[in-house]
Point group: C2
Chain length 351, copies 2
Amino acid sequence: MADTDRSPFTPGRPRGPELRYGNRPTMKDVAARAGVGLKTVSRVVNSEPGVTPDTERRVQEAIESLGFRRNDSARVLRKGRTASIGLVLEDLADPFYGALSRAVEEVARAHGTLLINGSSAEDPDREQELALALCARRVDGLIVIPAGDDHRYLEPEIRAGIATVFVDRPAGRIDADTVLSDSFGGARAGVAHLIAHGHRRIGFIGDRPRIHTAVERLRGYRTAMADEGLAVSDSWVSLGTTAPERVRAAMLEMLTGPEPVTAVFAGNNRVTVTVVRVLAEQPRRVALVGFDDIELADLLGITVIAQDSAALGRTAAEQLFRRLDGVEEKPVRVALRTMLIPRGSGEIPPS
Amino acid sequence: MADTDRSPFTPGRPRGPELRYGNRPTMKDVAARAGVGLKTVSRVVNSEPGVTPDTERRVQEAIESLGFRRNDSARVLRKGRTASIGLVLEDLADPFYGALSRAVEEVARAHGTLLINGSSAEDPDREQELALALCARRVDGLIVIPAGDDHRYLEPEIRAGIATVFVDRPAGRIDADTVLSDSFGGARAGVAHLIAHGHRRIGFIGDRPRIHTAVERLRGYRTAMADEGLAVSDSWVSLGTTAPERVRAAMLEMLTGPEPVTAVFAGNNRVTVTVVRVLAEQPRRVALVGFDDIELADLLGITVIAQDSAALGRTAAEQLFRRLDGVEEKPVRVALRTMLIPRGSGEIPPS
């Protein structure tokens, strides 16, 4: 995948209506629109006395129609308010996001900025509600792990100067800074590893098909199989929720069907933990490579395609602070490399 | 421990200056103090026009001196603002807190309320900064996993009506609703289990001594040893950070000292993962019981004292919403039971 070889922050291809950072309306714009002096706007913005209700209303209307927002760094100096950034997560209990959040927090902290998190629980409406609630609570910037596929609702916020970076999955229908892992390349390398160890009937169990990473990893699986001229039976591919019962049923079906698999590629860490349990119960040994590293996978001998979740969070946060520092450039798209870690399960030969 | 047998939410003993919930100043109090009418206060509070700057300043002064806060549920109805609660975590990357946060979020969601998180990274100053920042961003309530041991800084917020519940560790120097696991009883049961399997030289590796749970678990260890008339050598007890290098060094020292241990009790999940790795490298088998369950511990055969981290989060959140619903009672203190899960490592006999 070409993206993988790019150095971070070279411009990506525009893929939607372009949003410009840095063109925020100023207090001067508000003053002109409201037909008042700059000092009056300043008084209204800072809730200082000395403005008649009518004038205040006019200024407020100008603020709203222009999408004006206070310059927050100036405001921090003046009012002592702590700067903050928001992070919209997908699942608070997934350890993958734990490491990512902590990395974002470390960067935020180095910039004297608080991190405020929330979770969409994989619900697009909840994602929107949370992202806008964080904006309303005056975060200076936003990092989003998207659940939905339409982020036009953020356009007014971005135009108003809230820097926004997407991580783990791309933004939908807007062009914005995005930091991803190379899901396609990682899955392709993992499946190629199983093929190199002699497997021909390889299963793929992934997350729901509306999730970008699930689709990219499936594409990596199919490409690796095609690279070696191997056909893929429909019964070897299963996408759906990562609930243990669903994954267990999918795994058992692949093991007992007319063309039973001798190896399986697990599409993420939630899938892997259930697959490991199911395979531990089987009489014959089945090879496994899982996407995402897992704590204690070393002791269990689980071969994985590791994402660097801390690097994802760190890279996204650093890009956010570049934007907050006023760097103006086209939205960038970064894909971070993954790493194959052989530990035994991926090196089991076909039975 | 008597606390364990209490049903949730029977009042606890007061342990500090008592804070009363529900005695919030009203708009009427503000009006009386500022010497204006109720309608005027309402205009100021809701940023409506029709108030002179001088009057507004008088009202604002009354609001500040009384610690008045808008009635937020009424406000949600009027302004469509989303209700929210804040959660101050200790470490975003610790899976124990992931499950706890998700449980809090589920309760919040069932109440139509957003959850906003942040992490103290085990730094008392950061905890205070974050908790106050969340209050300033108008959360309706706060759940705190404390890093510090003095929470008097929250008294003005609690008096002003921000419901506050502490979880996992108790509040310091204020009396507030608190939901804990029975750390003492759990550790005592885990060490008794090792003794019952024939061990006499048992090590304890725990978190830093300023952390309440670390101290309680050490007390459980010492009590279990004393229960059986067993002496504890100084070289068997090690408290400190949970950094892998620190835990590894402590474990190796206990294994190679003049009175080498035949079993070890690990004080939390961060300690356990390192101890498991060190023990896997040893020529002789050493028994292990760890506090906290760990993902895949079943496959690795690790015996644990499991806390129900989801129940901790759920119980704390439900208590918070009882407070937000206006329930007035003395602060309660709940200790949730832990559970011994034998899986092999705790049943290894002394070598």
